[in-house]
Symmetry: C2
DNA sequence: TCTGATGGCTAATGGTCAGTAGCCAAGCTC
DNA sequence: GAGCTTGGCTACTGACCATTAGCCATCAGA
């Protein structure tokens, strides 16, 4: 066994070479595995503190090999952040579409917001913390979506206030407060804890309605079942 | 003008040397100026992306000169983060001390919370975003204070719930929601905007009471004056 | 069986950065 | 005015890191 696999340029030790197509790794999954690993690491260590070598190690390859699948580290971040905002807005559109009543529309919007932040807590967490790590023009794009998203909530609250259904001093503060609660969820929620995603969504929906003065009073005596 | 100030090791160009004690810079302020510059930069660019040279430039000196005033970059971060938690807890103790009624105690706690996050928004912002950049054992210390702080709110809400004054499904979710709203404030508030700090504090105090079901109904008809 | 594409690898490149070493001027104290 | 202290400075060190260059094994298809 004298033939060294590394070729002429390599040192004379046995290189731990892995074949291009190892056992349990379907080729199409590689890219999404990398994305998932990046997400986990960005969330745990921050974008700047995560190295390409870290991401590579998480999927069983070396840092430079990642470039066979991905253009840059920045691209991984951009994908996560833009995807997050797109999904939030898409979910919101669906949520609102199902109801005419402002109260119900706000409830559903909040539930969708919470659901996303609980189910995709890492995306949401990274999406919030790493805005500054995103280069232009993507940063502006994400900030634009974010402000669109906030406007959707604000306009709902304005509408409710105009109708006399909601009672708030500032629609902007109300929308910020509601959204910020959701953002908070992404920093502490974990599956298998005290509450299910559905319970959480329902409770926050309730809380939001209280905040805008749309629940008659101490309300919320209907246990915990959602919908 | 042939005498080069840089000494024998230096190159032969005119060095822009500043005297040890320049005009308008009282010596005692140097350290706090550095701290302030670090705070600004950490908030704007993040801890990892801020270099010692950046901080130096912000106070008119070179990066390495900072080490005459500060032990390390990490020390600057630790000071900010520990100081923030200490202050929040101290403010909370004072706020609660002034009242017996749970309702009033919660209101004052929330107002203090909001006031801090508005007045010291950079500290609060950095304090939240950079926990992961803080090395041990400081990180655990800060997390410990944070959890003490949360407990203070939660116990207040538990007490109110036991008395029948508050009505919530989960005291933990209620405390998290309230605190998260404040954290949000530190990310968007700016002096000179639509609301003063006092107005903000008052409105959030109101909102928090609504959230725990302690305001009879649509409430809040008393304009905007605090206290 | 050849050949191109794919996806690994190591080595190198170019850059950045925290922190250290050592020099020096100004000012204070004795 | 000698000498110490303070707080600047430049140069350097050691490390780290994203990305590129270029090599090669495997595999699919002709």
């Amino acid at each position: 066994m004298s033939s060294v696999q590394g070729g002429s340029h390599a040192a004379s030790y046995e290189r731990p070479y892995r074949p291009a197509q190892p056992e349990g790794t379907p080729v199409a999954d590689r890219r999404s595995a990398i994305r998932q690993a990046a997400l986990l690491l960005f969330a745990a260590q921050g974008y700047r503190s995560t190295t390409m070598a870290d991401i590579g190690a998480a999927v069983g390859i070396r840092g430079p090999s990642l470039y066979k699948h991905v253009a840059s580290k920045q691209e991984l971040l951009a994908e996560i952040m833009i995807g997050t905002m797109e999904q939030l807005i898409a979910d919101n559109i669906v949520a609102v579409a199902g109801a005419d009543d402002v109260r119900e529309r706000l409830r559903r919007s909040v539930e969708a917001h919470i659901r996303y932040h609980a189910r995709h807590r890492l995306e949401a967490f990274v999406g919030n913390r790493e805005i500054g790590s995103l280069e232009q023009p993507d940063q502006d794009r994400v900030l634009g979506r974010r402000s669109d998203y906030e406007r959707r909530f604000r306009e709902l609250i304005e509408q409710g206030a105009a109708e006399g259904t909601f009672h708030v001093q500032s629609t902007r503060i109300a929308s910020y407060s509601i959204l910020d609660m959701g953002i908070g969820v992404s920093s502490w929620f974990h599956e298998g804890g005290e509450f299910s995603v559905d319970q959480l969504a329902y409770q926050y929906g309730d809380t939001a309605l209280r905040m805008v003065g749309a629940l008659p009073h101490s309300g919320t005596r209907n246990g915990d079942e959602p919908e």
